[in-house]
């Protein structure tokens, strides 16, 4: 399903979603919907996060202890679950980022070698 803006998008690769969530949450605590928005926005609408994978991923990250969540009230008095990075989450982000970069560089060097 495409958003109304009509721009072609790529589904987030399995395995990178957690990294993207960690990265997004490292900016500030936010709720699920804004995480999808922020990922879309930061990738200039190139990446689209499916809700079906977002929430289970949040659940897994929380289980690993990388995230923490709290219920807060919005200005419009709605209950909203806000996720934030924990200290181990921050450390994990660092490690995952490094490993991702290494991976990308490796793939790149293969693709570049013609």
């Amino acid at each position: 399903m495409r958003p109304p803006t009509g721009q072609p998008t790529t589904d987030v690769l399995r395995g990178t979603l957690e990294l993207l969530i960690l990265r997004t949450l490292s900016l500030e605590p936010m709720h699920g919907w804004s995480i999808t928005q922020r990922i879309q926005q930061l990738s200039s609408d190139a990446l689209q996060v499916g809700q079906g994978s977002l929430y289970p991923a949040l659940q897994r990250l929380e289980q690993k202890g990388w995230l923490d969540s709290d219920w807060e009230q919005t200005d419009q008095n709605r209950r909203v679950r806000v996720y934030r990075l924990t200290r181990s989450g921050r450390a994990a982000l660092k490690a995952e980022t490094a490993s991702w970069r290494g991976y990308v560089a490796a793939v790149e060097s293969i693709l570049g070698a013609t």
Binding site: P4, S53, Q63, G65
Partner: protein
């Protein structure tokens, strides 16, 4: 960091316990997401309705995501199993009849094994809970010629000999202690009270490594100090902490209370409780000498000393130390681990408990087999439900798990029932121990370890015996099942019939074993004990610690007998060195001292010393010669009476009267012959017995026997009064009616008959349920066939006959197998049987007949059901 992980996981535990709130949170979160998306679309210019629609479409299947979130929780497996458990509970509630029978069946099996294993646990596994490192402790166990062990099965040595051992083997022991059971008289305001306690060496508590509950224990240097047992401290001293340092009078002498033993420490023999401990040297100080002070010897191995080396050193010492009793020769001394069971009784005891455990395990096996059969029948009856679940996509794996959870739940409920049953059973067993002269305290109630084991066994049995029915159910062909209205599970009953036959075989084994023990008890009850115990009360009196000497002793006894005989209602009174049925008496080798008779005529005999009236009082028949007379005194010739067994061993086929034997460096002339009798236990083999006249024996302790028309309780009260009138410091020990002592000696037979007989009955009932189950299942499944046969004109009797015949065939096959099994197995029980052969034809025959009768009975209900099937009903089932 790790804290974060732990917190993350703990948070999800909420999913288990607060499921509704977790689910609501999930709904709220998704709703919020969709609302935000809707607002976004509205901002982009869509109408609110269209925006909401698009947002919902964009979000996708809410329920699917919810499931995704649920799956990603680590608690998922637990949630699933919890839901399986709930499902199982619903199913079991829907079928209360099935559930009740199954739970009861399992409860019987688990109850039997738990009760027995809790006995094993308390007797074999934690026999000496208060002793530190009991595995380092060893009994020094001597074997001597000419001596038969007494003292509750300990192989005793003389006190002086113990001291010589300690001096000769210091490199072996970090400590060598001695102890013996003894009756004390404790002086109280209302007269002397008999207390069962122990005399020990001063290092006893140090060697055992017991810690006092209060105060301290005695050690080298403490004089006239006593330690109270916890039970005595709470019953007689009201748990008063101020008792430490006070003085009590024990057998006419003052002792200072210095400590209280912990509740778990009752001595070194399982079940026999000491209520008081005193140092032996103090207690015996100034006492009569000449008779040996028998003690059991226990030592703690020095660290680093290997057992073989220790044994060799002790053995060498044993041979080098001259025995105090010159007529005996020490052959060997061995070291036996201290286990709470006296060395001489150990092998038989372990074998007996092993046999109990095996029979209990058989009960569990039969019970579990029954329940497996019931589960199979049940899943067959639930065929449609299972077919539908399979059809709507419940995985077979999930289905098997569900059925396994169901059987496990069933077994766990049954397990809990079994534990309750075990508590009741062990309670009954503990109460069934008759009143003993010694204080018996054996705690056989299950502890946590046993309970945990019972539940684990229940769960494992549930899984093992639930597996086959579950796998079979899940193998069902769905299409076929739905077409025909149910899964056909277990299309052939041949497997099940073989299974029931096997159950039958095990039940036969149980019934035969139970029957043998019941017959054994019967035989023991019918035994001619060779004396008349009815109306006789016995009690022990010990003058030795009270400072009586020489003529004072004889005067005391004759004064006592005069007083007791004068009590209204008393028929007669007499003295014996040992009370009948008071446990094993001492024994010795004797030989004929006739000219021409040699060493070959040596034989071992038990002996007793009795006053002239005693044989008449106990109604021991004299079948040759004469009884003792008052004229058989210190200055007259040494005379004895022998029983038939001793006479025939010493002088086969000859008249024993007038012959002489050599004993204790004296020649004794046989003046009378008594009939054989039972002396220590009913179950004993024919025992050689020799009676000495009391006046020529001179003992400072005696068992007073009194025959009267008074009740035992009143008589014992009166005896206390008479005793106190002579010497208020002397207590009446071990006072008990002799019939009760006879009953006590029957206790092993009674215990075995009740317990193993009970297991036999349980096996019988379970086998009956098993046969009923397989036949009912058969009839149910073959409703159509029976209906058609009925419609074709088969007579009712033919249909009934077919079902009963099937039942009987299964039962007969099982019974034959069971009889063969029993014929092989019962010889292991042979040593515990009295007056009945392990292959007793009557028992085997009755067991077989009983089993077949039970099978026929079990077949009746299904048979009637088969004959009552209406053809129309049968055709409708498809």
């Amino acid at each position: 960091m790790i804290r974060d992980t732990v917190r993350g996981r703990l948070r999800q535990l909420r999913a288990l316990f607060r499921k509704p709130s977790v689910e609501r949170d999930m709904t709220d979160e998704f709703e919020f997401h969709i609302r935000m998306q809707t607002e976004q679309y509205v901002r982009e210019g869509l109408s609110p309705v269209e925006a909401r629609r698009r947002a919902l479409v964009a979000f996708g299947g809410v329920e699917r995501y919810k499931e995704g979130v649920r799956d990603s929780r680590w608690t998922r497996v637990i949630e699933d199993i919890a839901s399986d458990v709930r499902y199982a509970a619903r199913g079991l509630r829907r079928n209360p009849g099935f559930t009740m029978v199954a739970v009861l069946t399992i409860a019987i099996g688990i109850g039997a094994t738990t009760a027995v294993s809790s006995m094993l646990n308390s007797i074999l596994l934690r026999p000496l809970p208060a002793v530190s490192q009991p595995e380092e402790l060893f009994d020094v166990s001597e074997s001597r010629s000419g001596m038969t062990s007494g003292m509750l099965g300990y192989r005793a040595v003389e006190w002086l000999r113990y001291e010589k051992y300690a001096a000769a083997t210091p490199e072996v022991w970090s400590g060598l202690a001695a102890h013996r059971y003894v009756g004390f008289s404790l002086a109280t305001e209302s007269g002397a009270v008999a207390i069962n306690g122990s005399l020990t060496s001063r290092n006893y508590f140090d060697v055992l490594g017991v810690r006092p509950a209060l105060g301290r224990f005695y050690s080298e240097g403490d004089e006239f100090a006593v330690v109270l047992g916890y039970a005595l401290w709470s019953s007689r001293f009201g748990s008063d902490r101020g008792v430490i340092g006070t003085t009590i009078r024990l057998d006419s002498r003052p002792f200072t209370v210095i400590g209280v033993a912990p509740p778990a420490f009752i001595g070194l023999t399982v079940g026999i409780r000491s209520d008081l401990w005193a140092p032996m040297p103090d207690y015996w100080a100034g006492g009569a000498s000449g008779t040996p002070d028998w003690v059991a010897v226990v030592g703690r191995l020095r660290a680093g000393v290997e057992l073989p080396r220790a044994s060799a050193i002790v053995q060498a010492a044993a041979v080098n130390i001259q025995p105090e009793q010159t007529w005996t020769t020490v052959h060997s001394a061995t070291l036996a681990p201290v286990t709470g069971i006296p060395v001489v009784a150990r092998t038989g005891f372990n074998a007996f408990l092993g046999m109990l455990f095996a029979t209990a395990a058989l009960v569990l096996l039969i019970a579990a087999g029954n329940v497996a059969g019931m589960l199979l029948a049940r899943s067959s009856a639930r065929g449609r439900e299972i077919a539908i679940r399979l059809a709507i996509g419940v995985g077979r794996r999930r289905l098997v798990r569900q059925l396994l959870v169901e059987s496990t739940v069933l077994f766990l409920i049954g397990g809990v029932g079994g534990i309750l049953l075990a508590f009741w059973l062990t309670g009954v067993l503990a109460r069934s121990i008759p009143a003993l002269p010694a204080t018996v305290a054996v705690d056989v109630s299950p502890d946590l370890r046993v309970l945990a084991a019972a539940l684990v066994v229940a769960a494992i049995t549930g899984i093992v015996f639930g597996l086959a029915p579950a796998l079979r159910s899940a193998r069902a062909d769905v299409m076929d099942a739905l077409k025909r209205g149910g899964v056909r599970i277990g299309t052939r009953s041949r497997g099940r019939s073989a299974f029931v036959a096997a159950q039958f075989a095990m039940a036969v084994l149980l019934v035969v074993t139970g029957g043998l023990f019941v017959r054994s008890l019967r035989a023991a009850l019918d035994t001619d004990v060779g004396f008349d115990p009815d109306g006789v009360v016995a009690a022990t009196i010990n003058l030795r610690p009270h400072g009586y000497e020489g003529d004072q002793i004889a005067a005391f006894w004759s004064d006592l007998l005069d007083r007791v005989r004068a009590v209204p209602g008393v028929e007669n009174a007499g003295l014996a060195d040992w009370g009948l049925m008071f446990g094993p008496t001492n024994g010795s080798d004797v030989q004929s001292s006739e000219p021409g008779w040699t060493e070959q005529n040596r034989t071992n005999t038990r002996f007793n010393a009795v006053d002239p009236g005693w044989l008449d009082l106990m109604r021991v028949p004299i079948i040759g010669g004469r009884a003792f007379a008052v004229s058989d005194n210190e200055s007259s010739p040494a005379v004895i009476l022998v029983n038939e067994t001793l006479a025939s061993r010493l002088w086969p086929d000859l008249d024993p009267i007038g012959r002489t034997i050599r004993f204790n460096a004296r020649d004794w002339e046989v003046v009378g012959l008594t009939r054989n009798g039972k002396y220590s236990t009913i179950g004993e083999q024919p025992t050689a017995m020799l009676f000495f006249p009391w006046a020529q024996w001179r003992s400072s302790d005696a068992t007073l026997h009194v025959r009267s028309g008074l009740g035992a309780g009143r008589l014992i009260e009166q005896l206390r009064v008479e005793l106190a009138a002579i010497d208020p410091d002397i207590g009446l020990e071990n006072a008990a009616p002799v019939p009760a002592m006879v009953g006590l000696s029957l206790f092993p037979q009674r215990f075995a008959a009740w317990l193993i007989g009970g297991f036999g009955v349980a096996g019988l009932i379970l086998a009956m349920i098993g046969v009923y189950g397989v036949l009912a299942f058969d009839v149910e499944r073959n409703t159509r066939e029976f209906g058609i046969r009925g419609a074709l004109g088969a007579r009712t009797m033919q249909l009934v006959g077919a079902v009963v015949l099937h039942g009987l065939l299964v039962a007969a096959a099982g019974t034959v197998a069971g009889l063969l099994l029993a014929a092989g197995a019962t010889r292991f029980a042979g040593t515990f049987l009295y007056g009945v052969a392990p292959l007793d034809p009557l028992t085997f025959g009755v067991a077989a007949a009983l089993m077949l009768a039970v099978a026929a009975m079990a077949a009746i209900v299904p048979a009637r059901r088969a004959s009552a099937i209406q053809p129309i009903e049968a055709l409708r089932t498809d």
